[in-house]
C-alpha cells in the first residue's frame, strides 16, 4: 500500500478512501462529452477537519485535489484533469442551522439541494431557497461555486449572490471563515460592510479552496404558486415582451424555451411565467397584470396564452424532473449545454445560432433561457442531446458546443460553468490587467497549484 493511501486512510478511515478500479473509473468522468481522466484516489470526508488534513497532505505530496458535488455541471469541471484526489463532498450533508427570522440556512459543503428543500418543507414551510432545476442530488456549495441560478434568480440574482457566509479550507490548509460568521455567531452577511472575500471562492470552480460550510439566503414561501405560458412565433418580439414582464416586478421566475420536438412545440417560443401569492385574490391580481401587460401582442395576434392544464403538474415541480428527460430523446443517456450569460436584447441572435448549429452538426437541440435579476441579463442555454453509445454524435455535440461558446464570446456574453478550454478562451479575451489580478489571486492562494488543476490555469 502506498504511503499516500495509508495517510488518507488514517484521515478518513477505510470506508472514506477508494482506489479500486470501479470507483476510479466512475469518478474519472461526468455525464457530459469531455474525455475522462483517472484520479489516483477518491476520498469522501465527513468533517472540515478531515478536509483540512487531506489538503495538507496534498500540499505535502503535491497532488491535485478536485472537490466534487454530484458532477452534474456536465462540463467536465470535476474530471481530475491531472489525476490526484477526487473529493466526493456528499457525505458532508448536514443542515447545521436555520435562522427563520433572519431568513438564512447554514449547511455543509456537500449538502444537496433536495435535502434542503425537503427539510424546509417539513420544518419551515414559510421559507424556501432558490432551488435550481438540476437534479436534487446536486449540491448547494457546488452551485454557488459555479454561479448557478435557481427558481428565485429572476427576483434576487444568481444563487451565488445569495451566499451569506462561508467556511473554506484554503489550498494551503487553513480553515477560514468569511463574512459575518468570522466575527460572531450569525451568518447573515458574506462581507458587507467589510471587503467581500467570498468573491475569492464563488465562480472559481473549486480552484481556490474547498467550501465546507455555506450560509444561504432563504426567502418567503408563499402559499400559492401559479404559472402561465405565453407563446409567440416572433423571436424578434421576445426582448420587448421580457422587458414588459420584468417591469411588473411580480414574477418569481421567467423561462423562455423552444424546441423542435414534440411537434406541438414546433415554431413557437414559450415563456413560462411563475407567480406566487398568499391568497386567491393576490394570484388573480397578478395574473391580470401579466395578461394586461401582454394584451397588445394578443390583439396583433402575434402571441397568446396557451392552456397549461395538461402541463401544469410538470411545470410546477421543483426541480422540474422533466428537464432531464431531454437526455433520453436520442435514446442515449446524455445532453450537455453551454449556458452563456448575456443581455436579453440578444435573444434573437442566440436563438438563430442554436438552430443553425443543430442543423450544421446534425444534433438535437433544446433551448431555455432563465432571466436573472429582473432582466438585467439571462442564462441562455444551448443544449444538445446525444446517444452515449454513439461516439461520433458525441463529437458532433462537442464541436457544436465549442462553436456556441465562441459565438457567445463574440457577442460579448460570458460562458457559464465554462470547461477548461472555454476558460482559456475567456482568459485570452479578457482585459489584460484583470487577468493579471486573477493570476495574483490564484498564485497567492494556491502556490502549489493543487486545487482542481487544469481549471482557471492563469499561468499557461
Amino acid at each position: 500500500m502506498s504511503d499516500i493511501l495509508k495517510a488518507l486512510i488514517e484521515i478518513v478511515g477505510e470506508r472514506g478512501v477508494s482506489n479500486t478500479p470501479e470507483e476510479l473509473w466512475f469518478y474519472s468522468r461526468d455525464p457530459g462529452v469531455l474525455t475522462p481522466h483517472l484520479p489516483d484516489y477518491v476520498v469522501a470526508p465527513r468533517t472540515t477537519e478531515e478536509v483540512r488534513k487531506i489538503v495538507l497532505l496534498a500540499n505535502r505530496e503535491k497532488i491535485p485535489v478536485v472537490p466534487m458535488g454530484n458532477g452534474m455541471s456536465l462540463t467536465g469541471l470535476v474530471i481530475p484533469l491531472k489525476g490526484g484526489i477526487v473529493l466526493d463532498m456528499k457525505r458532508m450533508n448536514k443542515i447545521l442551522e436555520v435562522n427563520a427570522m433572519a431568513r438564512y440556512a447554514v449547511v455543509e459543503g456537500g449538502t444537496s439541494q433536495g435535502v434542503l428543500k425537503a427539510y424546509l418543507q417539513e420544518h419551515y414551510p414559510q421559507l424556501r431557497h432558490s432551488i435550481p432545476d438540476a437534479p436534487p442530488t446536486t449540491t448547494i456549495a457546488a452551485n454557488a461555486a459555479l454561479h448557478g441560478q435557481g427558481r428565485l434568480t429572476q427576483q434576487y440574482g444568481f444563487n451565488s449572490e445569495m451566499v451569506t457566509g462561508l467556511e473554506v479550507v484554503l489550498p494551503t490548509g487553513e480553515v477560514c471563515l468569511i463574512g459575518s460568521p468570522s466575527l460572531g455567531p450569525y451568518w447573515f452577511s458574506r462581507g458587507p460592510t467589510m471587503p467581500d472575500l467570498s468573491a475569492l471562492f464563488l465562480g472559481w470552480l473549486g480552484t481556490t479552496g474547498i467550501i465546507t460550510k455555506i450560509g444561504l439566503r432563504l426567502y418567503p414561501n408563499k402559499k400559492i404558486r401559479d404559472v402561465e405560458l405565453f407563446v409567440t412565433d416572433r423571436v424578434d418580439l421576445i426582448p420587448d415582451i421580457l422587458y414588459k414582464l420584468t417591469h411588473l416586478e411580480i414574477l418569481e421566475d421567467v423561462n423562455v424555451w423552444f424546441q423542435p420536438k414534440p411537434l406541438m412545440f414546433q415554431g413557437n417560443f414559450h415563456i413560462t411565467l411563475y407567480f406566487t401569492g398568499d391568497t386567491e385574490e393576490e394570484i388573480a391580481f397578478k395574473r391580470r397584470m401579466v395578461w394586461d401587460a401582454l394584451q397588445e401582442y394578443m390583439d396583433s395576434k402575434d402571441g397568446g396564452f396557451m392552456s397549461v392544464q395538461y402541463m401544469k403538474e410538470m411545470l410546477m415541480e421543483m426541480p422540474q424532473r422533466g428537464i432531464a428527460d431531454f437526455a433520453d430523446v436520442p435514446k442515449g443517456g446524455g445532453f450537455e449545454y453551454s449556458g452563456p450569460i448575456t443581455i436579453i436584447e440578444h435573444f434573437p441572435q442566440y436563438a438563430a445560432k442554436v438552430v443553425e448549429l443543430a442543423a450544421k452538426y446534425d444534433v438535437l437541440y433544446a433551448s431555455s433561457a432563465r432571466l436573472i435579476s429582473g432582466g438585467h441579463c439571462m442564462m441562455f442555454s444551448i443544449s444538445f442531446a446525444f446517444n452515449r453509445n454513439d461516439p461520433a454524435m458525441m463529437t458532433r455535440v462537442k464541436h457544436a458546443l465549442d462553436e456556441a461558446t465562441a459565438f457567445a464570446l463574440e457577442m460579448g456574453g460570458i460562458p457559464w460553468k465554462p470547461n477548461f478550454m472555454e476558460q482559456k478562451m475567456i482568459m485570452e479575451k479578457m482585459d489584460k490587467n484583470a487577468l493579471k489580478l486573477l493570476q495574483m489571486i490564484k498564485n497567492n492562494l494556491d502556490p502549489q497549484g493543487i486545487m482542481n488543476p487544469g481549471n482557471w490555469e492563469v499561468n499557461s
Binding site: M72, D88, A118, E122, P136
Partner: protein, 392 residues
C-alpha cells in the same frame, strides 16, 4: 455497439444519465437507496451501478470481488425503479442488476457469502442448513393441519420455518387463520424453498429447478390458492411462477386477515398503543399492497397508527432484500438500512414497529438491539399485534 459480456437488457444500460434522482424518495428527504446510504460512493447508487455495468459490458472494468460487492449490495428494494426520471427504461433497472448478477454467477465471480447461500439451498433446501424434517415444527400448537385439500395453502417459507423471529411470526398468523376457521393447510416437511432470493442473487438454474418442483408439487396436491407469510414468496409466486406454468391465486396474509377483521371474524378488545408500520419492499413497492396492513392496525381499538416520514411508495428498505438478509453485504454500520430505519421509527415516538415480512422482522429486531432501543421500541408482526388485542 458490441459488448464483451451480454445481458438481456444491454441495449438500455447506456441510457442512464447518472442524474441520481433514483437515490431519493419522491420528496428528497434523505437517500433512499440502501446500498448508497450505507456505502456512500456513487458507484453503489443505482446510476453508479448502471454506469459500471456498462463499463463492465465494454470490458473497461473486469469482474472483481469489489464489482461483485457493488452489485450484491443492492437490496432489490425497487426504489430506483419508481424514482428514476426516465419512464421509458426505469422499469428495467432491477432486471439489469439481476441479469448482471446472473452473469457473475455464470462466471463464478460471486462473493463467498452468496456462494454459501446457493450451496446451502442446493444441499439442505434452506439457508440455515437445518434438516428438512424440522421445517414444519413451527406450526405445532397453531391448529394448522397438513395440506390435504383445504381451500388455501399457507406457505411459511425458509425464514418463517427456521428463523426464531420468523417462526414467531408464522405461528401467530397460523393461529389466527385456524382460529378464524379459514380452511388452510401447510406442507410442513414437504415445503421447499420458494427460490425468490436465489433468483434475485442470479442463480437462474437453481431457481428454475426450485420453482418447477414447487409448481409440480402444488399442482399434484390440487393447490389453487396460496397465502404466504413472506412477501418475497408472494412476489415470486405471483410474477415468476406463471411464466413456468404455475398459475395460482396468491395472497399475503395481511390481505386475508384484513378481510377477517372487516367481516368481524376476529374479535378485538382495546389495546392502547402507538404503532408505526414499516412497508416491506416486496409487499409495497413490488406489489402495491399498502392498504391491508394499515386497515388491520386502524381496526384495533386503541391503536394509534403513526406514519414514518418515508412510507408506502417511499418507504426505506429494512436492508434484508436482494438476499442481503442472508449474505449481509450491507453490513451493520451506522448507515446500514436496518439501523437507519429503526431510528426513523423511533422519531415517530411509536412503541411498536409493525412489520409484515419475516425478514423485516428479523432485520429490524437486530437493528433495535444495535441501536440500543430495546426499551423504547418493539418489533412485532401484524398478527402478533392482533393477538395482543384479541378478546379472550
Amino acid at each position: 455497439m458490441t459488448y464483451a459480456h451480454t445481458i438481456e437488457h444491454a441495449e438500455i444500460v447506456h441510457r442512464c444519465f447518472r442524474c441520481g434522482y433514483c437515490k431519493f424518495p419522491s420528496d428528497y428527504v434523505d437517500f433512499n437507496c440502501p446500498s448508497y446510504k450505507a456505502f456512500g460512493w456513487d458507484t453503489y447508487s443505482p446510476g453508479g451501478r448502471m454506469w459500471l455495468i456498462r463499463a463492465w459490458l465494454n470490458d473497461e472494468i473486469k469482474s472483481s470481488p469489489h464489482f461483485a460487492e457493488i452489485l450484491y449490495s443492492c437490496v432489490a428494494c425497487d426504489n430506483c425503479k419508481n424514482q428514476c426520471v426516465f419512464p421509458k427504461f426505469r422499469d428495467f433497472l432491477p432486471d439489469i442488476f439481476q441479469e448482471t448478477k446472473a452473469e457473475l454467477v455464470n462466471d463464478g465471480r460471486i462473493p463467498p457469502e452468496v456462494r454459501d447461500y446457493f450451496k446451502a439451498i442446493a444441499i439442505s433446501g434452506n439457508p440455515y442448513k437445518l434438516p428438512q424434517s424440522e421445517r414444519g415444527k413451527w406450526a405445532e400448537g397453531t391448529g394448522l393441519q397438513p395440506y390435504t385439500n383445504q381451500e388455501y395453502l399457507f406457505y411459511a417459507g425458509c425464514v418463517g420455518s427456521y428463523d426464531e423471529v420468523g417462526q414467531k411470526m408464522a405461528r401467530s398468523v397460523g393461529k389466527l387463520l385456524s382460529d378464524a376457521g379459514i380452511s388452510a393447510g401447510i406442507l410442513g416437511s414437504e415445503e421447499a424453498c420458494d427460490g425468490s432470493e436465489v433468483k434475485v442473487l442470479g442463480e437462474m438454474g437453481l431457481f428454475t429447478k426450485l420453482a418447477q418442483e414447487n409448481i409440480g408439487q402444488f399442482k399434484a396436491k390440487g393447490i389453487k390458492k396460496i397465502i404466504t407469510l413472506d412477501p418475497h414468496a408472494l412476489n415470486v409466486f405471483k410474477k415468476d411462477y406463471p411464466k413456468l406454468g404455475g398459475e395460482f391465486r396468491v395472497f399475503h396474509y395481511t390481505e386475508i386477515l384484513a378481510g377477517l377483521i372487516k367481516d368481524k371474524k376476529i374479535a378485538l378488545t382495546n389495546y392502547p398503543v402507538k404503532v408505526t408500520y414499516h412497508d416491506p419492499c416486496y409487499l409495497g413497492r413490488h406489489n402495491q399492497i399498502y392498504g391491508p396492513p394499515r386497515e388491520i392496525l386502524k381496526a384495533i381499538p386503541g391503536v394509534e397508527l403513526v406514519e414514518m416520514h418515508r412510507n408506502a411508495l417511499n418507504a426505506f428498505c429494512c436492508g434484508g432484500g436482494g438476499g442481503n438478509f442472508f449474505t449481509d453485504i450491507l453490513g451493520t454500520g451506522e448507515d446500514s438500512a436496518g439501523r437507519v430505519r429503526v431510528r426513523e421509527a423511533r422519531d415517530t415516538r411509536a412503541r411498536i414497529v409493525a412489520v409484515a415480512c419475516p425478514s423485516c422482522a428479523k432485520m429490524l429486531s437486530d437493528a433495535v438491539k444495535t441501536e440500543g432501543l430495546e426499551d423504547t421500541l418493539e418489533v412485532l408482526g401484524i398478527a402478533e399485534i392482533i393477538e395482543r388485542a384479541r378478546a379472550k
